[in-house]
Symmetry: C2
Subunit: 122 residues, 2 copies
């Protein structure tokens, strides 16, 4: 069995900018049928992550601004890492996705627990 | 390598009843740090599923009643199934969790893509 790498299961990251409203981000989660939106700056560099879990927490706590719900300290992955390492990192932090970035924090894609699970089912 | 079964990675399902408000379900998603709430009747039998994705869609579409957002046709798993089969089923339906039920639809637990991914990282 070959060792899979992050690059083998990475998908395109669905992104948003800092200036977008929570309502617009919620609509993107629905239309793109994903749970993770990666927040980027004007150069496509990583500035945060917002998930359907964060939107749920915003509803539970009556928060409405993106700045109040976005996670800033983002756990990430690199293209050439073994997928096993990425899975371990997700498990350690109890999270279900890792944005994949280059050395300048440019967002290249995203790897999710769903993509890893699909590997077992292949 | 032994073949893992659903029973090996299954977790306790976090549940709600049909009479609960969306706000209360959103709060449970946050306090239990999960993405999936299994809807059960008074005998603990499966009647639906609500996820943080559904709550996000409710926000995007201005829906507020549980009956408007719950998914009724639930894809499930059995305790003694190979995990590979459960992963395939999740992948086929683009979903990230399967409630585990017995032959009378009693909810025994839940298996998620996150739990499957953890197996790779072990
Ligand atoms: C701790 S998890 C708990 C629920 C579930 N395990 C999940 O991943 O959705 C939910 C939180 O993790 C955060 N999160 C998701 N992916 C992340 C990542 N790569 N780095 C940092 N935080 C992340 C979300 O922003 C959200 O606040
Ligand atoms: C189609 S998925 C798309 C987003 C992402 N793949 C995920 O699983 O969250 C989202 C929808 O799947 C539904 N869903 C989740 N688990 C399910 C299950 N076991 N059976 C049927 N529907 C399920 C949710 O209720 C929600 O409406």
């Amino acid at each position: 069995e070959e060792t899979p790498f992050v690059a083998n299961v990475m998908q395109e990251a669905v992104t948003c900018s800092e200036s977008e409203a929570v309502q617009a981000i919620a609509e993107r989660i629905v239309t793109r049928s994903v749970n993770h939106i990666v927040v980027v700056d004007g150069n496509g560099k990583l500035t945060g992550i917002v998930t359907s879990w964060d939107i749920t927490r915003a509803l539970a706590q009556g928060k409405t601004a993106l700045a109040d719900i976005v996670t800033r300290r983002v756990i990430t992955a690199k293209l050439n890492e073994p997928l096993e390492t990425a899975s371990k990192r997700m498990a350690q932090h109890n999270i279900s996705a890792l944005p994949v970035i280059d050395n300048e924090k440019k967002v290249l894609g995203i790897v999710t627990a769903e993509d890893v699970s699909k590997l077992l089912g292949r």
